[in-house]
């Protein structure tokens, strides 16, 4: 019988219960989909790493004979160590304008389960005596290749034809970036190819030598111990960089993504379920107050307290299970497109979504727990009620003056509705706090969302439009005398300006902190690469000392004036040098140190050296330039900035949709909070509001009591939302920043303005929806009853 009562009560207040369920549904949907996707990613990652023997450590050297690698196997802690030849080469696709690169990685076809081996998905094993390759599946698909097709590459200025005999994927390139300044994989212009070492050796003048080393560790061995032993062994061969798995680009980005997913999968559902919990709590408490009489009768009949309690808890259970089940099912459904989105970026086997009842069950359970806690808190008043007391109406609320009334200037400005509203705010402290927190959250999420949108734009714009103002960057295969190359390029048609650039791999050390970065040497009066401070004032590259990017300074714990130890494989003397930090600058893409180019040359002891050239050139001449130098042995590649910007913007556009999802979350939260607070107010104070209508107030005037209260809270919530949003942004920046990009943490004024407008808009809409209920208030019915 009581079950029927519950269903009817639910139906009567369906608006409020539906709003509450929607919040639960969203929370559980996010939980289920994110947890499931995260689980899939994690499982696939682990399986892939172990099957393909993913390396624990990586090192890059100038050149090392293959035979020397064998000796390193004796180093304590190393399980396996293998040397490879790794080189990026240009691919010649007829009728393709843009640069396409293939990273050639040598492989010994006879080696069983090599470190970072490619999982062959289709095709045949490599023949060690033929110019055959395996390419990665993404590159293969993006460029519509076919098995046994030959593709042409340029290596050391010579055209070579490679036959594609297999396709596969490698754990080293799950997230395949060509350079660390790229943000997203672009399989159309960058791919991975495995090729027999002997064949690859014939492409390059130095022959089959190793320039890349990968190793795995024995169980229980720490990477640092091995690095300590390995480093001196590799130094004579021009060690460029040695780093653990956690710094490997693909692994780092996948891990960051997983961590991001994990925190989202925890934080967002908790926020949503808490909001739903508070709504449920307020509704149940209100209902129990209204149904005192009924409770008294039930108690008088002899129903036990627990039976009545269970009855009221069943409302919470019904909402919790419905919300959990619908949310769980939607979440599982959502995990399919979600997984496909990840498949676009992360190249792993086994990355597919399947229906798993355990996630659904987990979702329902989670929602149920929240609902029961909220429900119990809301219903426990039933327990203490005595039957006779229950049948009497509750004591009338005692009104009090509030401290704000002492500010007479403010108080006298208020209409009587305003006074009612302000007193209500203080009378219902719990509800006020709920509305306040809901608004703060909603505003902060909206502010964060739009700030991030602005900031990503800023990151890209600053880097490509203000900092790097050149059109083309010509990367040289090996360092050359700057004057010679400058002269040649100046005579190329359309070239307006050419500047030399020295990009030197260095290891910077400060106390126990250590970081491998690229030291950029720029001409002092460079107009094609501008170093800027926070206020966009141009800073000249220093002739003495170093400029560090903020993130680098943070990693090294360096300040202006800190003296850093610097070492580089390109140092002529081979010894560490000391460099002073003379300034710290913001840099959002990549991390670098900067110096005047002459100072870099002095530092290296290599007069006039340049590693690349940045060129300002008329757009229409770019293809000519590329054609002219594409096959030159001296040029490693020609980087068209416009192309890179275009690709980046394309990817950013697809991320724009994420913004709307977050915005939607903010809007739904503020709508639900306002709508429910209106409904609760309406049911609690229907009497008051009706008697105001009898006095001849219009529904709008009556509604203003409720809306004034909400706007009053909302104004303060939005003010409080600004620092909260900033905190969230800081947290977000700290969680997502890595060596590839650093998220700025300045809130933009326009994003705050949009947050104000969107929050206000959703409050207004919720109020309009709730206002319809006021118009339907039956004066006769309300006033007939005793308050």
């Amino acid at each position: 019988m009581l079950f029927k009562k519950m269903l009817r009560d639910l139906a009567e207040n369906k608006g409020a219960y539906i709003a509450c369920s929607i919040i639960i549904i969203i929370g559980i949907m996010i939980f289920t989909s994110f947890t499931q996707v995260m689980g899939n990613l994690r499982l696939s990652q682990e399986a892939f790493y172990s099957e393909q023997n993913f390396a624990d450590g990586f090192a890059q050297v100038q050149a090392m004979p293959l035979a020397e690698i064998k000796k390193l196997e004796d180093i304590r802690g190393i399980e396996e160590i293998q040397g490879r030849m790794v080189r990026d080469v240009k691919v010649l696709f007829p009728d393709r304008e843009e640069n396409v690169y293939l990273r050639l990685i040598s492989i010994d076809p006879t080696q069983e389960n090599p470190i970072n081996g490619m999982e062959l998905m289709k095709g045949i094993p490599l023949n060690e005596r033929e110019t055959n390759i395996w390419v990665d599946n993404k590159f293969y698909e993006a460029n519509n290749l076919e098995l046994n097709q030959e593709i042409s590459i340029v290596a050391s200025g010579k055209k070579r034809d490679l036959r594609v005999v297999g396709i596969g994927r490698s754990p080293e390139f799950i997230y395949a970036l060509r350079t660390s300044s790229d943000l997203y994989p672009d399989p159309e212009t960058f791919g991975i190819a495995f090729i027999p070492l002997e064949i690859m050796g014939t492409f390059f003048p130095e022959g089959a030598v190793v320039n890349d080393i990968v190793f795995t560790l024995r169980p229980g061995v720490s990477y640092e111990d091995v690095e300590e032993q390995l480093e001196p062994e590799l130094k004579p061969y021009g060690l460029k960089r040695i780093f653990p798995r956690k710094d490997q680009t693909s692994h780092l980005l996948l891990t960051t993504e997983l961590e991001g997913l994990e925190s989202t999968a925890t934080a967002l559902p908790v926020v949503f379920l808490s909001i739903a919990g508070v709504i449920l709590y307020l509704m149940l408490r209100r209902m129990i107050e209204q149904q005192r009489g009924q409770i008294g009768i039930l108690k008088a009949f002899g129903y036990t307290q627990w039976e009545i309690m269970l009855h009221y808890l069943s409302y919470a259970v019904a909402v919790g299970i419905t919300g959990g089940a619908i949310g769980g099912l939607l979440g599982i459904a959502l995990s399919y497109p979600f997984t496909s989105l990840y498949q676009l970026f992360f190249n792993m086997p086994g990355l597919s979504s399947e229906f798993s009842p355990s996630y659904l069950l987990l979702g329902i359970l989670l929602s149920l727990v929240f609902a029961l806690i909220a429900g119990y808190q809301g219903c426990k008043g039933v327990l203490t009620l005595q039957p006779a007391e229950a049948m009497r109406p509750p004591a009338p609320p005692i009104a009090k003056r509030v401290w704000l009334e002492r500010i007479t200037f403010f108080w006298n400005m208020l209409s009587v509705q305003g006074m009612m509203a302000v007193r209500n705010i203080f009378r219902n402290k719990g509800r006020t706090i709920f509305v306040f927190l809901g608004m703060v959250f909603s505003f902060a999420v909206l502010g964060l969302t739009w700030s991030m949108n602005d900031l990503i734009q800023k990151m890209i714009f600053d880097q490509y439009e203000i900092v790097e103002t050149y059109d083309v960057k010509v990367v040289l295969s090996s360092p050359l005398e700057e004057k010679k190359v400058l002269r040649e390029l100046y005579h190329f048609p359309g070239v307006k300006k050419v500047e030399p650039l020295a990009e030197v791999p260095v290891t910077l050390k400060n106390k126990w902190h250590k970081k491998d970065v690229v030291l950029l040497g720029l001409p002092e009066d460079s107009s094609l690469y501008n170093i800027l401070d926070k206020n966009y004032n141009e800073i000249k590259p220093p002739r003495t000392g170093l400029l560090l990017s903020e993130r680098l300074a943070e990693v090294l714990e360096a300040k202006t004036g800190t003296r850093l130890q610097a070492e580089s494989p390109m140092l002529a003397s081979g010894e560490d040098r000391e460099l002073e930090v003379v300034g710290i600058i913001p840099q959002y893409l990549g991390i670098n140190a900067y110096m005047e180019i002459g100072a870099v040359q002095d530092f290296l002891g290599q007069e006039g050296l340049a590693t690349s050239l940045i060129v300002s050139i008329d757009k229409e001449h770019i293809p000519h330039l590329q054609k002219e130098y594409r096959q030159s042995a001296a040029v490693e590649n020609i980087d068209d900035k416009g192309e890179r910007l275009e690709q980046t913007e394309e990817v950013m556009a697809s991320f724009g949709s994420m913004i709307y999802i977050f915005a939607l979350i903010g809007i739904i939260v503020s709508f639900a909070v306002i709508y429910n607070s209106s409904l609760i107010t309406l049911s609690e104070r229907g009497h008051e509001l009706a008697s105001m209508m009898v006095l001849g107030m219009t529904p709008a005037e009556v509604n203003s009591v409720i809306t004034f209260e909400q706007w009053f809270i909302a104004v303060f919530a939005m003010i409080a939302g600004v620092p909260v949003s900033k905190l969230m942004l800081l947290g977000m920046s700290q969680a997502t920043s890595n060596d590839v990009y650093t998220m700025p943490t300045t809130m933009t004024g326009s994003s705050l303005l949009i947050a104000v407008l969107v929050t206000a808009g959703s409050i207004w809409v919720a109020q309009q929806v709730a206002a319809r209920k006021i118009r339907k208030l039956s004066l006769v019915k309300v006033l007939k009853s005793i308050e």
């Binding site: 009338p396 609320p397 005692i398 009104a399 009090k400 209409s415 009587v416 006074m419 009612m420 007193r423 209500n424 009378r427 009497h687 008051e688 009706a690 008697s691 105001m692 209508m693 009898v694 006095l695 001849g696 107030m697 219009t698 529904p699 005037e701 118009r775 004066l779 006769v780 006033l783 007939k784 005793i786 308050e787």
Partner: protein
């Protein structure tokens, strides 16, 4: 003299599930400026329904109702709101004060929306609550609360005051106070006052008495010598 209210064949039906309840079954009446009318009748006779319809809180199912020649039976919600706002005052058995507004502020609430309001201080004086102006309803006795409600209804300076059992929850002494205020308002300002009650003794202060029975006006009695409220006993 021209009537302020004219009702012709006023009827009200409620559909309660499958049963049709006829609360009013064709009532004809006129109300005049400055008169005090008492409506008597057993519970369920349709007294409150009649008052709610005259006051613009409810709509008749059938019949015609004119307020100073304005057809209220054709008025929409908005027009009825402004009719209540400008021309009618209501007093209920259970005061219906706003709990978190003081006596003064409760009265001010109605001053704020009227075109030609009376002074709040003067009204408080008149109902004898000048010294209670800053008290909240929960700090006032029933009789005091009803007097605030009266002052609130009068503050708008309406042409007509409609009272549904205004003394129903009060003791004898406070009831007489309330009735005296109503009578003063009627005589002093020349306003129409309608009082619904089942207390027949109260009828003796009226100019006319309407007897309602089964949703119909049974009879109308003229009282040429209404008693002052102090003289009424029960």
């Amino acid at each position: 003299m021209k009537p302020i209210i004219v009702a012709r064949n006023l009827a009200k039906y409620y559909q309660m599930g499958e049963v049709r309840v006829e609360a009013l079954r064709g009532v004809d009446l006129e109300l005049y400026n400055g008169e005090l009318v008492v409506v008597l009748g057993p519970s369920g006779s349709g007294k409150s329904t009649l008052l709610n319809i005259i006051g613009g809180m409810d709509k008749a199912s059938k019949g015609e109702l004119y307020y100073e020649d304005i057809p209220l039976h054709e008025a929409d919600d908005k027009e009825l709101t402004f009719y209540r706002r400008n021309d009618v005052g209501f007093v209920f058995q259970f005061y219906n004060l706003i709990p978190n507004l003081t006596a003064y502020e409760n009265i001010n609430l109605s001053v704020q929306i009227s075109k030609n309001p009376l002074s709040v201080e003067e009204l408080l004086e008149k109902v004898g609550l000048s010294d209670r102006a800053n008290h909240f309803p929960s700090q006032l006795s029933g009789g005091e609360q009803q007097r605030v409600a009266l002052a609130r209804a009068l503050a708008k300076n309406p042409k007509m005051l409609l009272c549904d059992e205004p003394t129903g929850a009060l003791d004898y002494r406070t009831s007489i106070d309330v009735l005296r205020i109503l009578k003063d308002f009627c005589k002093g300002y020349g306003k129409t006052v309608v009082i619904i009650t089942h207390n027949t003794a109260i009828a003796r202060i009226a100019n006319r008495i309407f007897y309602l029975k089964d949703g119909k006006l049974d009879r109308v009695e003229n009282n040429d010598n209404p008693l002052p409220p102090e003289k009424v006993t029960w």
